[in-house]
Amino acid sequence: MSIVTVQLGQCGNQIGYEVFNAICRDFHSTHGLCSKKENESYQAASKERFFSEEETGVPVARAVLVDMEPKVISQTLSRAARSGLWKYDHQSHFCQKQGSGNNWANGYSVHGPRYRDVIMNLVQKEAEKCDRLSGFFTVMSMAGGTGSGMGTFVTQCLRDAFPTSFILNQVIWPYGTGEVIVQNYNSVLTLSHLYQSSDALLVHENDAIHKICAQLMNIKKISFGDVNQVIAHQLGSVFQPTYASEGASQYSRSPLGDLMESLVPHPEFKMLGLRNIPQMSENSLAYSTFTWPGLIKHLRQMLIANATMEEGINWQVRPPLPGHPVPQKASPNKAQHFNTSIANLVVLRGKDVQSVDLGVFREPALYTSWLNPQDAVNVWKTPRAFNKYEKSAALVSNSQFLLKLTDNIVGKAWNMFASKAYLHQYTKFGIEEEDFLDSFTTLEQVISSYASL
């Protein structure tokens, strides 16, 4: 089953390109470390999931590119074509001239409705190219105007037009110290609205990825290209083909469905974080060896201590002991706060995956009591190595990972809202103070729910 990707705004298009690029290079890679048959099976599954075939044999990404100004899309299309390995369907894009001016209201209330039909037609065409549609993957930032505002509107349209398909929103959390001054407003409006129409929000934080680039990848002058490549690698490590259950003989056909089923038992809890291990520059890769117990141990501690990468993890954080009550109503600001999970998905790739023992992930102390510990943890595996890493593990978690972040962004937005700064820019496009208040209310509710896990 196939996934259709909708790339929204500058960020969405830049990242989308890196994702397809990473996936394509991965399935062409000769470092699969598995049998030829396995490799062929993997390649076929990956191709079907993300690309359609053309007569020329060059895979065509299953994607719709949307932006309100032309430069980024034009660049994205030509970069892909130049690679020679894959390309976009050059009909499958829509752009305008003016941009959204970093204004969520402009993206949502003006551009969205105005161009809805054209865009949905493009999506429909892509969906029809799929033998079976698993669902949609949208890529957008929260800080700007098109990805955030228009992206939110498009998500609603997707939900209306495809009520039974899964929708996963890949959302980029902006740098804390600004990229866009009104990013907190745009983020609050985006998150609160997406909560209504999306199945799950998979979040990447620019600050965290930036640190990975600096400390793990050792990149001196970090560009957005570098950041986007790390994000693409992380997404690839989750969404490339895997076997979703023990003893499965076929690569999973419904990755989005499996993901939602495993991770989103309750619609109030849709915020997912992503962690990946190991992560390093290609030069270092050649000199490193890893053991599964080591990787799993680190990944688990990253989960419970809410670390975003494998260096600088706080090893002091421990799960509460059985018999001892969990600290009441933990405040989102409390340091050393133990990260409680609702559900986790672990994806393992490479050598000896069959031997991996995930007992430490299944400890009941890590989870809320709603699900059986067996159901709270799902595992996807493949012996086929990913992107030259002999062994790699990824974690998608529905936990308190994003609680502090969300609380911070709502706090800053509220602070600005109380002074009424910039509101005239939104009201002129039809988003009123009341709409803001609704959004704040929705998010305070989400924060409260996650805090009381």
């Binding site: 100004e69 001239k97 941009g99 740098y175 990149i219 001196k220 957005f224 700064a421 820019q425």
Partner: protein, 452 residues
């Protein structure tokens, strides 16, 4: 691609505008060589309207190297000038030429398939630029309400030789308050000190041959300083570079684009507080190919020093409402972040916008440079400029000096003066109120409480 239309009004406006087109063509030609964006780029620049109520300056332009660029359809001229009288420029010539102006604007707008912005360039102290220029601003708002209006205004200095410049400036200010989306105030004194500084550095021999050819901020297109260059050319080139850099992200690619509508969105938190202090760094580029981080960092530091601002102001010691950094050239997001982190502690931001930074990265540097930075600040440091203007106005007004020259113009009344000074006073008051919050310990408003 979006287009902008430049409307240059009066002697100063046309002289600056002229420098702008000169440099713009140079930038266009340099990129053209590489074969990218040729037509689109030229369409961005085809759109100009030159207005002056005397012919001297415009005629010179039409005889100079730019004569190929403009044709008579883009001109509105008269012969007698405005006598440094805002009322003559605004009321008399305004009414007389309104139809003409609207017609020419409409025609230029028709050439644009996506008109995003009008740039008005003028001075505040005279009669035409100040009076007719602000009249045009009104027309723009009436006829093209959806299109942004960015105004580059040259403010008079204290020793201005036009006695009535305070009247003209304050009358113009009211119009800027009410009808401009963004104003970039410029003061000649600042331009002059920057020019002197560059002069000093290049002539002192300290840097000698390491200064990259063609990289001075003050250079005219393709020429090293010659005797033909006029005294204001160097200063006007700085302003021209300001406009080029401001529009660079709309014209060229980059990893984080910053379009003009984003500038207005992010830098104007309240409609009337739309005065942006600008600075351009570096003043010149040294010949190093690989710019060491230290030098890059110096570029960022300089952008915040009071010597590099284009008005006499010190943003570091006043309060920031918002700040935008548009970087061009071989600079990446990590350089940007590192410098924001480094400079933040020494800057005062308003309590509700503690991390109020808007950033843009454009891959193509200005001609002759490897990188450059444009900083735009919405900062209370504009207040002293406005207070001084008010004081100079009051000195004249109290004595009713020269008022009769204004009042005998049809449509001009005493109330125009009182309304104008009142508008300015209100603006100053808004800035004062914000200043009062500086340094006050922050108490965040309490959040919404949710029933569990």
């Amino acid at each position: 691609m979006t287009q902008s239309v430049v409307v240059q009004v009066g002697q100063c406006g046309n002289q600056v505008g002229c420098r702008f087109w000169d440099l713009a063509l140079r930038e266009h030609a340099a990129v053209n060589k590489k074969g990218i964006y040729d037509e689109a780029l030229s369409s961005f620049f085809r759109n100009a309207l030159l207005i002056d109520m005397e012919e001297g300056v415009v005629n010179e332009i039409l005889q100079g190297p730019l004569r190929e660029v403009f044709d008579s359809k883009q001109l509105i001229t008269d012969v007698s000038g405005s006598g440094n009288n805002w009322a003559v420029g605004h009321k008399q010539y305004g009414n007389q030429y309104r139809e003409h102006i609207v017609e020419k604007l409409r025609r230029t707008a028709e050439h644009c398939d996506c008109l995003q912005c009008f740039f008005v360039i003028h001075s505040m102290g005279g009669g035409t630029g100040s009076g007719l220029g602000t009249f045009v601003l009104n027309v723009l708002e009436d006829e093209f309400p959806e299109v942004y209006r960015f105004v580059t205004s040259v403010y008079p200095s204290g020793e201005d030789d036009v006695i009535t410049s305070p009247y003209n400036s304050v009358l113009a200010m009211k119009e800027l308050n009410e009808h401009a989306d963004c104003v970039l105030p410029i003061e000649n004194e600042s331009l002059f000190s920057i020019v002197s500084k560059i002069h000093q550095m290049t002539n002192s021999g300290k840097l000698g041959s390491t200064v990259k050819q063609n990289s001075l901020l003050t250079l005219s297109a393709g020429r090293i300083k010659t005797e033909q260059e006029k005294p204001f050319d160097a200063m006007n080139n700085i302003v021209a570079n300001l406009l080029l850099n401001l529009t660079s992200s709309a014209r060229f690619e980059g990893s984080l684009n910053m379009d003009l509508n984003e500038v207005s969105m992010n830098l104007v938190p309240f409609p009337r507080l739309h005065y942006l202090v600008s600075s351009l760094t570096p003043l010149y580029t040294l010949a190093d190919v690989n710019v060491p981080s230290r030098r890059l960092d110096q570029m960022f530091s300089d952008a915040f020093s009071k010597d590099h601002q284009l008005i006499q102001a010190d943003p570091k010691h006043s309060l920031y409402l918002a700040c935008a950094l548009l970087v061009r050239g071989n600079v990446q997001v990590s350089d940007l972040r590192r410098n924001i982190e480094r400079l933040k502690p020494s800057l005062h931001f308003v309590s509700w916008n503690q991390e109020g930074w808007k950033t843009g990265l454009c891959s193509v540097p200005p001609v002759g440079h490897s990188h450059s930075l444009l900083a735009l600040a919405n900062n209370t440091c504009v207040k002293p400029t406005f207070i001084e203007l008010k004081d100079r106005f009051m000195k004249l007004y109290k004595k009713k000096a020269h008022l009769h020259h204004y009042l005998h113009v049809d449509g001009m009344e005493q109330s125009c003066f009182s309304e104008a000074i009142s508008s300015l006073s209100d603006l100053i008051e808004e800035y004062s109120q914000l200043d009062a919050t500086k340094g006050v310990p922050r108490t965040d408003p309490s959040r919404l409480k949710i029933a569990v």
